[in-house]
């Protein structure tokens, strides 16, 4: 366990001059390649971000490390940083140029008409009229307004051209600190010039290095040899500030205003701190490492409330003076502080074993040694309004002690005390409540304090056998009594209420009780459980919810906050934000141990006593501290390339490898930091991790929000958090239009396939039908009774005349029928076959009509040999001619069959019968269809009054 250089002085001692802070610190890693010596300026911007202006560039503290800002001006180093009073951070360079931070960039500002003498810019500020003023080391002061630069040097009113610092006062005067005192410059709009006058008071030194204007209008100044002082504008007077240790001030390296308190950085003596500036009350700062105070260059406070200290060797960070750990090097025995009280002068009284100790400035006083028996101990101490100290003992009742007269008196059971074993004392409104191992008693303290009025509350019941740990009087004058095993008891207007197991208080041993500013009663139990009672219900909290610890020692409250002192440290619970922090390393303690609750509270301070430490908390300063670390999302890479966060955050489908780099800023205890991380759209719930990168290697399309929050404890309230929203687009083959097109194409293909198949089936069906019809027609024609009758009549007539010819005729008739049967199933036959069949038919008809029927077949040999024809086509046409025309002696039917290159022609002269044979037209149409189906060609019919001619396309075999 590490302890700090123990200093007897307390921050609490505000009313009597000097006292010291003892600040534990941690060193901070500087940017790589930068030594503390190379840091020219350190600045905390208006948002509390830390910046370092160095000889090698500008750095910003981002969570866990310093990040370099690329400078447009590589040759020069950073000589000034300021964003007063606007929120732009201005950066001055050693070559007389200056610029400002715009987003992630450092942009040079080039004022029109600026005659840059290449001397370092020492300070920049924007006044209330939005004029830009900058000062230089050697070329005076400049003012840029109305698009014009005004130069102010010794030739027009400035005391000296070497300006260290400029500051704007409440009345918009520009105070200029130089090698020759202070000028106050103002822009004179009527004269269109800047006028400067000398500060009309004598200052202790000509060289004025630093200026800072506080919130009350005092202008503080730090000198090369003249220490520190301030100018009061109300009465035009200068006041020197004395060094708290009465040492001479060295060169003032920095003056920093924080929450209207002024930090003084003195090159010789280190840090001093002024809490009430105009009262000249300073405190010096002592560090656990003495070297820190040597050559301090600058001190600032960050956005968490931590104090950063830059000296010539290193950069340090400290929690600051809000929580002081007070111990004393002179207390060399192993002390156990049981109790604590503060007197009117804010000095601290503690008890340890059987001694009363007053820690007062540089001295420690011991009282009451040997007054009680060695085995007894002092358990508690309170101070009444007459500055009489009341001490509870274990075994010997009460000790009443007057510190001014050193007289003491023992009050025990012989004087009427209910029990001699006092566990705690509570004082409120002249009523001293005594909690003992054998019940509760109150003593009325009158101005004449010799007379004691006891009230033993025996009406409460069998409390005389109960240990009473603590009594708390709330703002409504109700007494809350913590008992051992009997739960919490409330005494209100002589009525008694018991709160125990039936109210959900599982552990009925109550240690410490307090009341918050909403009127809720908070109490802790022996099983490290904390309860809040709002008047109706009890809320129960255990470790991890609003505190961390396995034992709760003491409770206290201040505006919106509950302080819970546990074995793990000081827990600060902010009721409004529902956040808590457990401080231990940060304030320089690790484990706290205590055997009894001991806390005292004044208007400004809360003090805890523990075995090893006295912890004094400044409520106001503590309120400037952040409860939790700040979170920053530092870098996002997609497929290992950094993402410009300011751009629209939509990524293509192939950009799916995301890495998020984030950090939590808690520089005092970085090892405590964990991160709640969730990628909304991917993760179901928040995850807690120590990693400061989150990798998502293969995100699919969709909308995402990356959320991260740094915490120092595992409280499950995760807000506010840092977030980054983005979307990953669908690939083109998942887009709706693409899917629609693909579906359409597929549908079209299926449709076309079905359609073609239907057509093909229809065609096949048609062919079958045509063929069947043709067969049927042909057969019908040939078995036509007329045909048979005519044929047989012809045959009969021939039989008599020429039996031989009759045989031929019959053979032809029989061939004719056989051929029909042979070819009827074929799609196409050769023209040659068709001709041979036709010849049979013609022979038959010739026999019948004799010279009146003159068929001629005049086809080229080539066509006969090499062409195809639907079977019986020629025969059908010949038949038609025979059927429809009159064939008589003077009406000869001539049928010509011939061909040209493309067609076979079947032509006959027309002698149409007067009573035409009924015709279905099936014959001709059938030929048409068959040509179409089997050859894809069309036949042509010429029908005139004289001629009937059918053109059949030649189908090549």
């Amino acid at each position: 366990m590490k302890y700090f250089v123990v200093i007897p002085l307390l921050l609490a001692l505000v009313t009597c001059g000097a006292s010291n802070y003892n600040l534990p610190t941690k060193s901070v890693d500087l940017p790589a390649g930068i030594t503390a010596d190379e840091i020219i300026t350190m600045y905390s911007d208006i948002r509390g971000s830390m910046w370092l202006g160095t000889k090698k560039g500008l750095y910003k503290w981002e969570g866990a490390k310093f990040i370099l800002y690329e400078s447009p001006n590589d040759s020069a180093f950073i000589s000034a940083l300021k964003n007063s009073p606007g929120d732009t951070l201005w950066v001055g360079f050693s070559d007389g140029t200056f610029g400002y931070i715009d987003g992630r960039d450092l942009v040079l500002f080039q004022p029109k008409g600026y005659d840059n003498k290449n001397l370092p810019v020492s300070d920049i500020l924007i006044d209330k009229e939005n004029r830009i003023w900058w000062a230089t080391h050697g070329s005076g002061l400049f003012c840029f307004t109305n698009n014009k630069t005004y130069e102010i040097t010794t030739s027009n009113g400035l005391n000296d051209n070497y300006v260290y610092d400029i500051e704007v006062s409440a009345d918009n005067g520009i105070w200029v600190a130089s090698d020759n005192g202070i000028n106050i410059c103002k822009f004179d709009t009527t004269a269109d010039s800047v006028t400067c006058k000398k500060l009309p008071v004598e200052l202790p030194d000509l060289i004025v290095l630093k200026l800072v204007s506080d919130h009350e209008g005092f202008m503080w100044m730090g000198f090369h040899q003249g220490g520190v002082g301030y100018y009061n504008n109300n009465d035009s007077t200068y006041h020197s500030v004395l060094h708290p240790d009465n040492k001479p001030f060295g060169k003032i390296n920095a003056l920093t205003l924080e929450n209207n308190d002024v930090w003084i950085v003195d090159n010789n003596n280190g840090l001093a701190y002024s809490e009430h500036p105009h009262k000249k009350l300073l405190k010096t700062i002592v560090f656990d490492e003495e070297d820190i105070n040597k050559g301090v260059k600058s001190v600032i406070t960050d956005n968490l409330g931590n104090l950063w200290i830059l000296n010539r060797n290193n950069l340090y960070v400290s929690y600051g003076p809000a929580i002081s750990i007070v111990t004393d090097p002179k207390i060399n025995e192993d002390f156990i502080f049981h109790s604590i009280a503060k007197s009117k002068d804010e000095s601290i009284w503690v008890t340890s074993s059987n001694k009363l100790i007053n820690i007062d400035y540089e001295n420690v006083y011991y009282y009451l040694e040997g007054v009680i028996q060695p085995k007894s101990t002092f358990t508690s101490v309170v101070i009444d309004k007459n500055e009489i100290i009341w001490i509870g003992t274990l075994g010997q009742g009460l000790v009443k002690f007057n510190p001014s007269s050193h007289k003491y008196e023992i009050i025990d059971t012989q004087n009427g005390l209910i029990n001699d074993n006092v566990l705690s004392l509570t004082l409120k409104n002249n009523l001293l409540w005594v909690s003992t191992l054998g019940g509760l008693e109150s003593i009325k303290i009158s101005n004449n304090s010799d007379i004691l009025q006891f009230n033993s509350y025996e009406s409460i019941g069998d409390l005389s056998k109960v240990f009473i740990y603590n009594v708390f009087i709330d703002s409504k004058e109700r007494a809350w009594i913590g008992t051992d095993g009997k739960g919490l008891i409330k005494l209100e207007n002589d009525s008694i209420y018991y709160y125990n197991n039936t109210d959900g208080i599982t552990d009925e041993t109550i240690y410490s009780i307090t009341e918050d500013d909403f009127g809720n009663i908070w109490f802790s139990t022996s099983s490290a459980t904390l309860y809040k009672y709002d008047g109706r219900t009890f809320s129960k909290y255990t470790s991890g919810q609003v505190f961390i610890g396995q034992s709760i020692f003491s409770l206290a409250s201040y505006v919106n906050h509950i302080l819970i002192l546990t074995d793990e440290g000081i827990n600060i619970y902010n009721q409004i934000d529902e956040k808590f922090v457990c401080l231990n390393e940060e304030i320089g303690v690790d484990v706290i141990s205590s055997d009894i609750n001991s806390v005292c509270q004044t208007e400004k301070y809360i003090a805890f006593a523990t075995h090893k430490y006295i912890i004094v908390i400044d409520q106001e300063l503590l309120s400037f501290h952040a409860i939790e670390p700040s979170t920053s999302l530092n870098l996002i890479t997609v497929n290992l390339k950094p993402v410009d966060i300011s751009e629209e955050n939509t990524f293509s489908y192939s950009d799916n490898q995301f890495v998020f780099d984030y950090s939590g800023n808690w520089p005092l205890a970085p090892n405590k930091i964990q991160y709640w991380v969730m990628l909304e759209g991917y993760d179901q719930d928040w995850k807690l991790t120590y990693d400061h990168t989150a990798i998502y290697p293969n995100l699919s399309q969709g909308k995402y929000v990356f959320k991260v929050k740094a915490v120092t404890n595992t409280s499950d309230i995760i807000k506010p958090y840092e977030e980054f929203s983005f979307a990953i687009k669908s690939p083109f083959y998942f887009t709706i239009w693409f899917i629609a097109i693909v579906l359409l194409i597929i549908a079209a293909l299926i449709y076309l396939y079905i359609k073609s198949r239907v057509l093909r089936l229809q065609k096949i069906e048609m062919q079958k039908k045509e063929k069947l019809e043709f067969e049927f027609q042909t057969l019908k024609n040939q078995v036509n009774p007329h045909f048979l009758f005519n044929s047989f009549s012809t045959l009969i007539s021939i039989i008599d005349n020429d039996p031989k010819e009759a045989v031929e005729y019959t053979e032809a008739l029989s061939d004719f029928f056989r051929n029909i049967l042979e070819v009827k199933d074929q799609d196409l036959i050769s023209v040659k076959e068709e001709i041979s069949m036709l010849k049979n038919f013609m022979l038959i008809q010739k026999k019948r009509f004799g010279q009146n029927f003159i068929p001629t077949i005049n086809l080229d040999e080539y066509v006969i040999e090499n062409s195809l024809i639907p079977p019986l086509t020629l025969q059908l046409l010949t038949e038609n001619a025979v059927k429809h025309n009159i064939i008589a002696k003077n009406k000869v039917l001539k049928i010509e069959i011939y061909n040209d290159q493309e067609y076979i022609y079947v032509k006959n002269n027309k002698r149409i019968k007067k009573n035409p044979v009924s015709s279905t037209g099936i014959g001709l149409n059938n030929i048409k269809d068959r040509y179409k189906i089997f050859s894809g060609q069309y036949i042509t019919i010429e029908d005139t009054s004289e001629l009937f001619c059918v053109k059949l396309p030649i189908i090549q075999s």
Partner: protein, 206 residues
């Protein structure tokens, strides 16, 4: 402002410009000293010396080294509150051995490259020669040693006496600040901070 005043004003601008410009100091400084010394108008305000004394002491754990030069050139212009001083490093004599002196010149101070040490700038306080007691004034300027410039404010004890100015000053020079590298083997023989003492009587420029 009369003619000479303008001239001095111009001089002062030149002095200002020299700051932060490394390695051109020496020739410029010579020019300035020449101008200061040759400014015959208002000559009663310029005081100078060619024989001032500079000494240093290095008080290291293992050895004390002392050396002194009486060749300090310097000038003070009371009209403008400016000053310039210069010494050639090789005029420093003393040391504990000839070898030590050689090391000092060649290795530590690198007199081949940087033959002079200078200090020039302005005087913060107004000098009152009528004052009978010694005055403490601050000289602020650029201290140029071993090619490295450092802005310094050095306290000086000044006494006006018999139409002359007596000055005396002791100040520290950190060898690290001036980039003077000492081999680690002799580390304990040479102090990290050298104490320098200046003592001179400046007379009016005739």
């Amino acid at each position: 402002m009369n003619k000479s005043g303008n001239r001095l004003y111009n001089n002062s601008i030149r002095v200002e410009k020299m700051k932060y410009k490394v390695n051109i100091t020496n020739p410029l400084l010579l020019v300035i000293i020449c101008i200061l010394l040759s400014a015959n108008l208002m000559g009663q305000d310029i005081y100078m010396t060619l024989k001032g004394s500079v000494s240093f002491v290095s008080d290291a754990p293992l050895e004390i080294i002392k050396a002194e030069s009486s060749n300090l050139n310097g000038a003070i212009d009371l009209a403008d509150n400016r000053f310039a001083f210069k010494v050639e490093v090789k005029t420093l004599k003393g040391f504990n051995s000839a070898l030590q002196q050689e090391h000092f010149y060649e290795n530590y101070m690198e007199t081949e490259k940087y033959p002079y040490a200078t200090f020039q700038g302005k005087i913060i306080e107004k000098v009152d020669l009528g004052e009978e007691k010694p005055q403490f004034i601050r000289a602020k300027g650029i201290l140029y040693i071993h090619g490295v410039e450092q802005e310094r404010i050095i306290q000086v004890e000044l006494l006006g006496q018999n139409n002359s100015i007596k000055i005396k000053s002791t100040f520290d020079v950190s060898i690290e600040d001036h980039n003077i590298r000492i081999p680690s083997i002799v580390n304990k023989k040479i102090a990290e901070v050298i104490s320098v003492e200046v003592d001179a009587i400046l007379k009016p420029k005739k």
